[in-house]
């Protein structure tokens, strides 16, 4: 109802009397745009739902893979519908692009209307103020001119007043306020576009990559160093900032007692980093405290354990050595990992199993009773033969290809399992060699990303909020005060003071709430009180 278009002033009930063209325009605005916008908004809400129940490739690629394995029938259907990447899908984009279109179609004309309205005078008082839904009157013996002057004074403070044009009747004061509401509304809707622009820039030019780094290792920022890399459509490798950093140390403060025992209180990774050929600096990377280098941010987002394991092959040569990243399976940090000694002779050796940070047997089952590596143990099964590494097919470092490998068994036919504590060494059967567990190193997972446009988006939402507050809290309204000498014969004055000989003045006060949400009765009562106040002080 705030449509600045509406010109109800001369005739508050003018809607039926609009010209056909105006009617058409009004219909177009009200029905097409507002209702379309509303329907599109609700559609957008609806369309966002599937992405919260179905795993999303952009959020959790692993979960998507798992889901696909479990639902082989549904997968092709879901894939056709883009249900694994809802928020990049054609249909989702279509809805919000339509919304943007509708938004532009809505704002642009309103901008012009508003520009005009800003310069317009408050309209003349309607002929019959008592026809407005909110109106009141009182009778006074002050002269009309006096009342009107007072009205100008009272209203002039917070309202824009109509300046009297030559030849106009001057028995009334017209006042209007709350022009900024529409400005707020326009600012809000424009800001939505700004936010979308910021978001789009981030999506197109930004990237995020992740890498797991064992304590002591160094990362230098180039594409090949990332474990996973998710660039925007217009990303170019030249964007990568030139830096490297080393994880000198990683510490977790575990809570040892109390209700939160077993949860981490703090994580710190001490880094030393270098920008280009600059000097080396150090930084304590923590959760909630990313390191910013150029346009790139480095975040600490996960951690785990990398057992250091050495495999000597049947010929006594070291076929594999070093810390191997094991992935935590749950909050107890029991972690899963595989080791592939591809150069082992006479045949390749693969290990697959679990790492327990604080190993205990609980009713015969192996468990970890604490997530810190207080009493670590690795427990692994052994495979030998062809690990599928030579086929040229890309292989995950976290998966052991057992298709052509054979499990190493004990004499009695049960699987051969090695359980090692740090420093332990075990001899594999069949002359395969030996395995030693040398110790444990922590690893951290860092996320490295550029998010251009984030400041634009932020500025957009802040502007939107400001506009929103203006749009919601400003209450635009018009107030008219009319003062007329009451003809003694006129009973309309209906006042008990009107004695017939003394001249009385009837003061009518009426208002029009343009937001539809204000409490005009109270406003009018205030205006009347202020007007009367003056009268009393003068008499």
């Amino acid at each position: 109802m705030t449509d600045s278009e509406e010109r109800p002033v001369e005739r508050p009930v003018a809607r039926g009397e609009l010209t056909a063209r105006e009617l058409l325009r009004w219909t177009w605005r009200q029905v097409t745009s507002m209702r379309t916008a509303l329907v599109l908004l609700l559609l957008l809400a609806l369309a966002a739902i599937p992405g919260s129940v179905i795993p999303q490739a952009g959020v959790d690629a692993l979960a998507v893979t798992r889901w696909k394995e479990e639902h082989t029938q549904l997968t092709p259907i879901y894939e056709t519908l883009d249900l694994f990447s809802v928020y990049d899908s054609v249909w989702f984009s279509a809805i919000y692009l339509l919304l943007v279109l509708s938004l532009v179609g809505c704002i642009v004309p309103r901008l012009f209307v508003y520009a005009k309205a800003l310069r317009a005078q408050p309209p003349k008082a309607p002929r019959n103020l008592s026809r407005l839904p909110d109106h009141t009157f009182y009778v006074t013996d002050a002269a009309p001119e006096q009342v009107l002057a007072r009205a100008r004074e009272v209203l002039g403070k917070r309202y824009r007043l109509r300046t009297v044009v030559d030849g106009e009747e001057t028995d009334a004061v017209s006042a209007e306020r709350g022009y900024l509401r529409e400005a707020g509304n326009l600012l809000f809707h424009l800001s939505v576009l700004v936010v979308l622009a910021g978001f789009a820039i981030g999506g197109l030019f930004g990237y995020q990559g992740g890498v797991i780094l064992v304590q002591g290792s160094t990362f230098s920022n180039s594409l090949t160093q990332y474990d996973d890399f998710d660039p925007g459509g217009l990303f170019t490798p030249e964007q990568l900032n030139d830096f490297d950093f080393t994880v000198d140390d990683f510490k977790v403060q575990w809570l040892k007692s109390g209700a939160g025992a077993g949860t981490a209180r703090g994580f710190q990774a001490a880094l030393s980093y270098k920008e280009g050929h600059g000097e080396e600096k150090s930084y304590d990377l923590k959760v909630n405290h990313p390191l910013s280098i150029g346009k790139t941010d480095v975040f600490l987002i996960g951690h785990g354990y990398a057992p250091v394991i050495t495999i000597r092959d049947g010929e006594g040569n070291i076929a594999y050595t070093g810390p191997t990243v094991f992935l935590p399976q749950d909050a107890s940090f029991v972690s899963y990992g595989v080791i592939k000694a591809s150069s082992a002779q006479p045949t390749q050796v693969g290990l697959e199993g679990l790492f327990y940070p604080t190993f205990r047997l609980y009713e015969g089952d192996p468990v970890s009773v604490f997530p810190e590596d207080l009493d670590p143990l690795v427990s692994m099964l052994v495979y030998s033969g062809d690990l599928g590494l030579d086929s040229g097919k890309a292989q995950s470092v976290y998966v052991l290809d057992k298709d052509t490998a054979t499990q190493v068994k004990k004499k009695d036919g049960k699987p051969f399992r090695i359980d090692l504590r740090p420093g332990d060494k075990v001899k594999l059967p069949d002359g395969l060699g030996t395995v030693t567990f040398d110790g444990v190193e922590p690893w951290i997972r860092v996320q490295i990303s550029q998010s251009p446009g984030k400041r634009i988006a932020l500025a957009g939402v802040i502007m939107a909020l400001i506009g929103l507050c203006g749009s919601l809290y400003l209450r635009p309204r018009r107030v008219w005060v009319r003062a007329r000498r009451a003809a003694p014969a006129e009973p309309a004055a209906g006042s008990d003071e009107g004695s017939g000989d003394t001249m009385t003045t009837v003061v009518e006060v009426a208002g029009l709430d343009r937001s539809g949400n204000g409490d005009l009765a109270a406003v009018l009562a205030d205006v009347v009180a202020a007007l009367k106040n003056e009268k009393e002080s003068r008499t």
Binding site: V59, V86, D228, T263, H289, I301, Q447, S449, N517
Partner: protein, 337 residues
């Protein structure tokens, strides 16, 4: 006081608050029952006067000194209000105790139990604060009943001993983000109640029910719509601030992405869009009133679903208070290859 003593105090204060809300509910139900004996017109007057104290009806005691039905209603209304104030006081003590029990002291918003107790507190306090301004006496049974029920749910199903904050929550953005989200949640809940009453009243129409007892005290549809709108209009910018400004800032610091379409984020966005729809609906011919009120309730449903329900539907949320154990962020996102 030791931490354990604070925790005990907090638990006792929750119990006390629950008891007081329960008494307040009984008082309001008695008030409601008493309303039936009051003539319809009188009932409306009592309603109007309950905030001011003086009323033409209540001011005329019967000669034998017994209260008139109108007086009794007004008295019970005032009593219920007072008991609710006491309950809210105990509720506040419970929240403060929760924060003091943690080592180091912290804001009491670390898990679902704490969110829920704080959220209900906001509902109660907002109701008390707006009681006079909007003459909310008619909303009393609904508010007190809701707060009591939700508090019970929190104590029975969501209660957890005091723990230090998880690392990802340990940020001053938590304070800002969460406090805004909780205030908005409380306000949306209160506004949703007004919209619900709007729908009930619209449904009752001019039937006999609408002119008797409780319904007669409920403001007319236009005023109800305005009250609902005002509360929503307060909540919406606060929600915007919480989920579209501070949420992304915090997410950027903690998880490296300011918006990741994580299920919690998706639902916060859905809630936001639905409420934007509500605000639009109020300005759209044909959608005003009933449809707008329905949208407000849909918005509220999405809000509470996000708060509690989504945790059971999706496991990928990074909002770590929803999952057990240490921060899993990132670990679940490990590359498959």
């Amino acid at each position: 006081m030791s931490n354990a003593a604070w925790e005990t105090l907090s638990n006792q204060a929750v119990a006390a608050a629950g008891l007081a809300y329960f008494i307040a509910l009984l008082v309001h139900l008695a008030e409601w029952a008493a309303l039936r004996q009051v003539a319809p017109r009188e009932a409306a007057l009592v309603g109007a006067a309950a905030d001011g104290g003086e009323s033409e009806v209540a001011a005329a005691p019967e000669s034998d000194g017994r209260r008139t039905p109108g007086e009794r209603v007004a008295f019970l209304g005032r009593l219920g209000f007072l008991v609710t104030c006491i309950a809210a006081g105990a509720h506040l003590v419970a929240l403060v105790g929760r924060g003091m029990a943690a080592d180091p002291n912290r804001v009491p918003w670390g898990n679902m139990y704490e969110f829920t107790t704080t959220g209900t507190f906001v509902v109660a306090v907002m109701y008390l604060a707006l009681y006079r301004k909007f003459r909310l006496d008619w909303l009393a049974p609904l508010v007190v009943g809701f707060v009591l029920t939700t508090l019970m749910i929190a104590v029975i199903w969501l209660h957890e001993p005091v723990q230090p904050l998880r690392e990802a929550l340990n940020s001053y953005w938590l304070v800002i983000h969460v406090v805004a989200a909780i205030i908005a949640t409380g306000a949306f809940t209160l506004g949703g109640m007004a919209s619900l009453v709007y729908l009930l009243k619209a449904r009752a129409g001019d039937s006999a029910k609408a002119t008797q007892g409780w319904m007669a005290r409920v403001p007319d549809l236009v005023s109800l719509d305005k009250i609902a709108y005002r509360v929503h209009a307060f909540a919406f910018p606060v929600w915007t601030f919480a989920v579209l400004i501070t949420g992304p800032i915090w997410a950027h610091e903690a998880w490296s992405r300011y918006w990741n379409w994580d299920p919690k984020e998706v639902w916060a966005f859905i809630t936001w869009v639905v409420y934007a729809g509500y605000l639009h609906a109020r300005a759209t011919a044909g959608w005003k009133g009933r449809n707008a009120a329905i949208l407000a309730l849909i918005g509220l449903a999405t809000l509470w679903f996000n708060f509690i329900g989504i945790n059971y539907f999706s496991t990928t949320s990074q909002h770590s208070y929803a999952i057990e154990g240490p921060v899993k962020a990132g670990v679940s996102r490990l590359p498959a290859g």
